[in-house]
């Protein structure tokens, strides 16, 4: 048996829907039928899970250096002796093979081929299984011998965090200024439009770079620099929405009743402008992730040793040319591309889904 709702979906006619629901309800229905947008949502959800569980799923500590294993290829395997925990980091001794062990010591050939030994009391655990392992670096290692896969996994945190926080800053400023311009018009609008046009004139990326140089390198500086440039698009959209909303009868009614501006703006006009803001915000999120990667690429974003995709690309580029490990630059490039691609898929899907004119 089909439910009423299913009949409605099958017939694709909103008018015959017996129980009217909100725009959000229908939008979600439409979004769910958009396969590409759903694929984008799944990728984003996966990225969030990866970022949240990085400690559990990453095979290595992303900052763990094994200098002997500098710039090793994809799938590199290395035989190591593991020492006792020193602080929170494991200590690895890369070896070629173990020669023998007696009651107190282990004798081995080290990475360079000379013989060495180590006291058993310094080793992790009691059995050879615990202190002698073959490590696999699925995507190879970088120049400090750090695991590329683990750094990719941890790098997702930076991209998502900077993307979301800086876009939130952008949306806050954009909605505030756009709403003021659209509601009060006149001089307020003229001044805000002037600011918008001035900021718009600067090439965003150069402006962000210049701001980061001025503010100093780092995580928070990247948020602020990206947020301070991204609000322009949001402000334009909100302003445009408010311009047309102000002409509608229900907004006129709120004024006739005598509601104050903040109430009209927050309770009546903003909720009705949210669709385009969400779509623009999604595009902005993709752009913010892109800008963060660009900043890190120049060494102006998150500072080492924190893993960030942009910085990994920059570090890895030299090894493309040297020919040792092209993956060092290519994998983080693909990670960034895929993330932005997924966000854009969802953005496109939302644009279609939130447009009440499109019934498809």
């Amino acid at each position: 048996m089909e439910t009423t709702e299913q009949v409605y979906i099958r017939e694709e006619g909103m008018i015959i829907d017996p129980t009217p629901k909100s725009l959000w309800h229908y939008s979600w229905k439409r979004l769910k039928r958009n396969k590409l947008a759903m694929a984008g949502l799944v990728i984003i959800a996966l990225l969030f899970i990866i970022a949240a569980t990085a400690e559990l799923i990453a095979p290595f500590n992303p900052n763990q250096q094994i200098l002997e294993y500098s710039v090793k290829p994809i799938g590199f395997k290395g035989n190591v002796i593991i020492k006792k925990m020193d602080g929170s980091e494991l200590q690895y001794i890369p070896i070629q093979n173990i020669i023998k062990e007696d009651n107190s010591k282990v004798y081995y050939t080290d990475f360079s081929g000379s013989e060495a030994n180590i006291d058993k009391s310094e080793l992790k655990g009691n059995s050879q299984k615990e202190w002698n392992k073959e490590l696999t670096f699925h995507l190879g290692t970088d120049r400090f011998g750090r695991d590329v896969l683990s750094r990719l996994i941890f790098g997702s945190r930076v991209s998502l965090a900077v993307g979301i926080i800086s876009e939130s800053i952008a949306i806050f400023i954009g909605v505030l200024l756009g709403a003021m311009a659209g509601y009060f018009r006149g001089k307020t609008d003229a001044v805000i439009m002037w600011v918008i046009n001035v900021v718009w004139a600067f090439p965003s990326i150069l402006f962000i770079i210049a701001l980061s140089v001025v503010l100093g390198k780092g995580f928070w500086q990247a948020f602020v620099a990206i947020g301070l440039t991204g609000w322009v698009d949001i402000a334009r959209i909100v302003r445009g929405q408010f311009f047309s909303l102000r002409e509608t009868e229900y907004i006129e009614a709120t004024k006739a009743i005598g509601f104050k501006a903040p109430r009209v703006i927050l309770k009546h006009m903003l909720p009705n402008s949210m669709g385009p803001v969400i779509v623009t915000g999604t595009v902005g999120l993709a752009t913010a992730i892109l800008f963060e990667a660009s900043l890190s690429f120049l060494g102006l974003g998150v500072q080492p040793p924190t893993a960030s995709w942009g910085q990994m690309i920059f570090d890895g580029y030299k090894y493309i040319i040297a020919g040792n490990n092209w993956g060092l630059a290519v994998f983080p490039s693909i990670a960034i591309m895929l993330t932005i691609f997924a966000v854009n898929l969802v953005g496109d899907g939302l644009r279609d889904a939130l447009d009440p004119k499109l019934k498809r």
């Binding site: 590409l36 002037w194 600011v195 046009n197 001035v198 900021v199 004139a201 600067f202 090439p203 990326i205 150069l206 402006f207 770079i209 210049a210 701001l211 140089v213 001025v214 100093g216 993709a286 892109l290 990667a293 660009s294 690429f297 120049l298 690309i313 580029y317 493309i320 040319i321 020919g323 092209w326 630059a329 290519v330 983080p332 490039s333 960034i336 591309m337 932005i340 691609f341 854009n344 898929l345 496109d348």
Partner: protein, 308 residues
Amino acid sequence: MTAYIIRNLLYTILILLGVVTVTFCLLYVVPGDPARIMLGQRADVQSVEAVREELGLNKPLYVQYFRFLGKAVQGDLGRSYSTNRDVVETIIDKFPATALLAFSALIISAILGVMIGIISAVKSYTALDNASMLFALFGISFPTFAFGLIMALVFGFWLKWFPLSGYISEGPSYLVLPMVTLALRPLAIIARITRSSMMDAMTQDYVRTAKAKGLSAGKVIFKHTLRNALNPIVTTISTSLAATLGGAYFIEYIFNWPGIGLLAFDSILKLDFPMIQGTVLFSAVVFVVINFFVDILYAVLDPKVKLS
């Protein structure tokens, strides 16, 4: 028309004033003393004082501002901290390289982008349309620097078809990789905007009329639909051009192309503040001036624009 141009010109000047002000602030909110940055940490107090005197850094901020504004209007943005060359002169020197790259890339993206957009709109919701639009979405999702690196890796390093980096004076093959890399993003944006703008126009009554009276598909598409869909397409192309003419930053950096973008990056890495100001200001001015001309172009093409 004259009134429209004058009004636009005045507004453009007002925006340029804002642009110069923001650029001024960039240098003067920097923590630390520009004179000391310029001379290095080891400089003695006398020479630092001398430079402060020369640059007017010991004057109140508003005096410095008007001094900066006055000089900027005359085309004087000071000298580079690192090379001591005149900033404006250096930028003019580097401009042809950037212009060559920007124009050649934009011509490719405009032609291909509009073509892909038209085909997508005409064959909408087919496999061809889906594939083109996925490609376009891919194009706007790929960070320029990452795409540039992969282009360099595949065509420069593995296949060795094109040189990895260098300027066109060494041969036209040096232009290929940076040009293609730069073209991707505007191409994708133009294709998307062309498609949606064409789709909008195709639902209009006059297009239905054109079809109904039996015009050929080509005539309907190019004479009736494309012409009416052209406005947003022209805006997108000119905005892209205005943005790239100020320097294709990452591409010039990756391919070592000696344009404004490379100059900007170099000066950022060296903390050469007058040069940073110069390149930022230059890009913004190019953007504003091109948009001014595009606005006038609109008014010429579409008489309705003047009235709004």
